[in-house]
Subunit: 575 residues, 2 copies
């Protein structure tokens, strides 16, 4: 029932990582994002030797704003460190097609303009994300079974299983040492696309020694192995068997494997399939074209055709599993889609991890659908019982035992996941010095199998809000937070500067504070106080001083009267 | 893995609710809160016969603001319907001491000033909540084994098990029919206070027929029975056995049973106990005084004494299990408590349901503690694996089978829980007409065992913000939402009304929009546009018209340039 972060105990496991031979130069690893915050993955690998310096970047993903980042759409990695080093960068290699690994490209690539490399599906999805924002960047499609040579880096792709096909780990070899980049994975021996992890390649890579492994750590607090994605099929089969109306599945648009399974059961149930929602359509189209999704055109129907078929001959795969207000599913539930109505025989299956923070929205959406009479099936549990795309403790141990790196760096998890990972690694015989718990911007360097001290770089949280990238900072957020809590009160004082007196009536305006019509008394009192204060001050000729004084006084007055702390702004207008 | 809302199938169960005999008059049930939103429980029962009208109120609890209610502290039931009927109200009866059943009393009781009735612990806790807000209301302490007579209502308390001791169901008898009020419960046969549900009283009550039962429905999507609260003890014992430093438990302050168990293991482990956090201290003090918590004074130490004991001789029970910023635990984690520091041998146990919406805060707090070196054990799962205070499907069926009401009304759940409950009740042989899914404000009436149609009343969401009750409405919230997203831009235009021209420079001020110093260009353009527009308008003499015009234009301009929609406010100052 509880999940424990235990003080790690060292077990005397037979364990000797193989040292790499004949190394020369320094290698460095710098996480720009992806550590401590799960998302916005972006990692810098550096090789330096006798005046040569080369950089390789892995992934370029977005993150999601936390609850305090009011109005912020996305967060992206801070590439300040790279800006004057674009000429040293050999390329950006992408591991897989999830948003948190590729979707910052349209924001950041234009500032670097370096080549992008990825395997087929990942390249295609990255291209969609780029074109979405009208950025046209050349992407080189790589064969996963060929070594990619970029300067002194040689990169081997190792196919791994995750909740999206075409996911890879990377073996990054340099003359100074070898990195194993263990991006998101689990060991799924029966993946939906029948393409399991290339274990043999992992074993082979480790045979010559690996200096450092970075590894997904998100599931480090879950015992055992993560279940195969394929078990979802059984759930879908059971559901569709009970469904006498439209069969509606909602999941995240990037979960290609789950979409495939919904398609599979729909076709087996002799239903026509309609995709709803821009992102699902885009992703399926791309995956279909490349053969990563099996969906014959003859089984597909358009939104307008839905009504021509009996309800029990139709399956809809719909975006909006997180309860997003503008999503296809929300619009259907609100009756805003004239082609799709919900009837009591319909069934809606929510097949997605609810992202923390979205529960309320998801539950409201479920309530709406239930109220329309639909049967709704949903997963009321988080990662633990849901089939996650991320490995659990045994998956993580298996990789570690296969790769046997000298050093290991957990990535893609929060602090507690990293500590859990550390405890895990110790059970395999690793010691404290070998398990590096980093922060974004922390630099680790290695020379001849040994850790060498490096100075950290500074990375900030870069926020995207509308068209602005990084123009929302702490001051703007603090103001939004204050106004979100208690609104704003503005006092406009027309004053005669030479005389230091108030001319005409002062104006008090508020938004989001109290309903003004019911607070006339309060506003009147505030006005009187301002006038009194203003006229009392001999220093009234110094506008900035008076402004500050009145603001402080009003804040106090309003808090006493209401126990609210609106933003108070005094504007002095010289007349 | 999934939880299903199935189309209910009627099973031909042998089931005949006993009709009540010799009834006269009409009885009504009106939920003012507690339906569809789980919290802010408040229910009105009415009896009417030949010009007599009497009202009984059950519970008076608070609810929590949803994510869109920026800045709102609490929501409380809307008692508009009762305001002119205070003279008809025989009293408020409280079922148990949780916030969502008692904590609206300080806000609403002063408007009604009717007698309050409750059993011992509940009465004491309600009194604490009232005094907290300086409201002094007389509460009559009831003996749970005596019938309470209030006008035509006679109320029988039936002790039930929940996550707080002294919880009750109510049998409310009137000459017009009998209600069974089934507030929060589960059937826990080994409760922490060794005081199981008075099943025999339930059976006896049902023997003369029950017209309507209202029932907790929150666990209606969980199969089986809910586990006994006592299983938590095993978890605590395992934890404390591994703990070489301070043993720190955090839970909700109203979860008296869990606090008792933390105390029990601490005493067994020869540790001194310190309580931290105002609400936990208050609740434990009250419960201790009345004998609901067993905690000898000799085992307690004050905050200042902690340092005098070896760490492994100390146990702390600390408020802040939801990651609240100002809570005792957050303050400890941030190093703001000079009496309590976290050291690597300390252990922190989170023993509470994370309330949806609080996950992020809880996880941040865990990360802080982990970073200080503490071992942290936490429940990563929701209601499903956590020991809930609410009954699961079999608990709910058991009550229904015991009470055998003619009609049943699920309360204390959201829409989907009510639908789940309906499906459940049908398996016992109930039909659609007998299971009433209500909304707050919907009135149901009964005459001689039969449902009679009633008109609904209007209930709004009443929000509490600071000292204001109900003065935050939709307009204020809409403004807060807008400013939270994109801030505010104010344009102050000093103008000559007779001439219709702008005098002096116009002022553009923003908060929470963009970092102004980096957006001089944008502001300059906006100013120019305003001046151009103003001077072009022949109608400039009509200030309201011009104001609206410029606001619209600016909104569009700023959206085009930034894709943000700040609140735009134009203030015209006549000079």
């Amino acid at each position: 029932m509880f999940s424990f972060i235990r003080k790690p105990q060292t077990i005397n496991n037979q364990f000797t990582p193989k040292p790499e031979r004949h190394l020369q130069g320094t290698v460095r690893f710098i996480p720009l994002g992806g550590i401590g915050d799960v998302t916005k993955n972006m990692y810098v690998y550096e090789y330096e030797f006798k005046g040569i310096k080369e950089i390789l970047i892995v992934d370029c993903g977005v993150g999601f704003p936390d609850a305090n980042m009011y109005g912020v759409d996305l967060v992206i990695p801070d590439i300040t460190y790279l800006i004057d080093k674009a000429h040293l960068i050999k390329g950006i290699v992408l591991t897989h097609g999830h948003e948190d690994h590729i979707a910052a490209l349209p924001y950041l690539w234009p500032k670097l303009k370096v080549p992008i490399y990825a395997t087929r599906l990942t390249a295609a999805l990255a291209n969609v994300r780029l074109l979405d924002r009208s950025v046209s960047a050349p992407i080189t499609v790589c064969d996963r079974d060929k070594i990619l040579h970029l300067g002194n880096f040689s990169i081997e792709f190792i196919h791994v299983t995750h909740s999206i096909p075409d996911a890879n780990h990377l073996v990054i070899r340099t003359p100074g040492g070898t990195f194993y980049h263990g991006s998101d994975y689990k060991f799924d021996w029966t993946p939906v696309d029948s393409d399991p992890t290339q274990v043999e390649k992992i074993a082979k890579a480790s045979s010559t020694g690996i200096t450092v492994m970075t590894t997904d750590s998100l599931g480090s607090d879950r015992p055992g192995y993560t279940l195969s994605e394929r078990v979802i099929l059984k759930g879908f089969e059971k559901e569709i068997g009970n469904c006498r109306g439209k069969f509606i599945v909602t999941t995240q648009s990037s979960n290609i494997s789950r979409i495939q399974q919904a398609i599979t059961v729909a076709i087996a149930g002799h239903r026509r399939i309609c995709l709803l929602g821009r992102s699902i359509k885009q992703n399926v189209e791309v995956a279909q074209k490349l053969g990563y999704i099996k969906l014959p055109q003859s089984s597909m129907i358009s939104e307008k055709e839905i009504k021509r078929y009996p309800a029990n001959k139709v399956a809809l795969i719909v975006a909006g599993s997180q309860g997003q207000v503008e999503s296809a599913l929300s619009r259907i539930a609100l009756g805003d889609n004239k082609n799709v109505q919900i009837y009591p025989s319909d069934m809606v299956v929510f097949s997605a991890d609810p992202i923390p923070g979205n529960e309320e929205a998801v539950h409201s959406l479920i309530d709406l659908l239930v109220d329309l009479g639909a049967e709704v099936s949903y997963s009321e549990v988080l990662e633990d019982l849901h089939v996650s795309g991320h490995g659990s403790q045994n998956d993580l141990l298996l990789l570690l035992a296969l790769v046997k790196p000298r050093f290991v760096i957990p990535i893609g998890g929060t602090k507690r996941h990293m500590y859990h990972y550390k405890a895990l690694a110790k059970t395999l015989g690793y010691n404290n010095e070998q398990i590096l718990l980093l922060e974004n911007g922390q630099v680790v360097g290695f020379e001849n199998n040994k850790l060498v001290k490096q100075n950290p770089i500074t990375v900030e949280t870069v926020m995207v809000d509308g068209l602005g990238i990084g123009d929302v900072g702490n001051v703007v957020l603090r103001d939004r937070r204050k106004m979100a809590q208690d609104g704003i009160v503005m006092v406009i004082i027309p004053f005669d500067k030479p005389k230091g007196t108030i001319e005409k009536d002062i104006d008090v305006i508020s938004r989001g504070f109290v309903y003004m019509k019911e607070s006339e008394q309060l506003i009147y009192q505030a006005k009187q106080m301002v006038i009194r204060e203003f006229n009392n001050k001999k220093t009234a000729k110094d506008p900035l001083y008076v402004k500050k004084l009145i603001e402080d006084m009003l804040e106090k007055f309003l808090y006493d009267k209401t126990h609210r702390r609106p933003m108070v702004m005094v504007v002095l207008i010289e007349v």
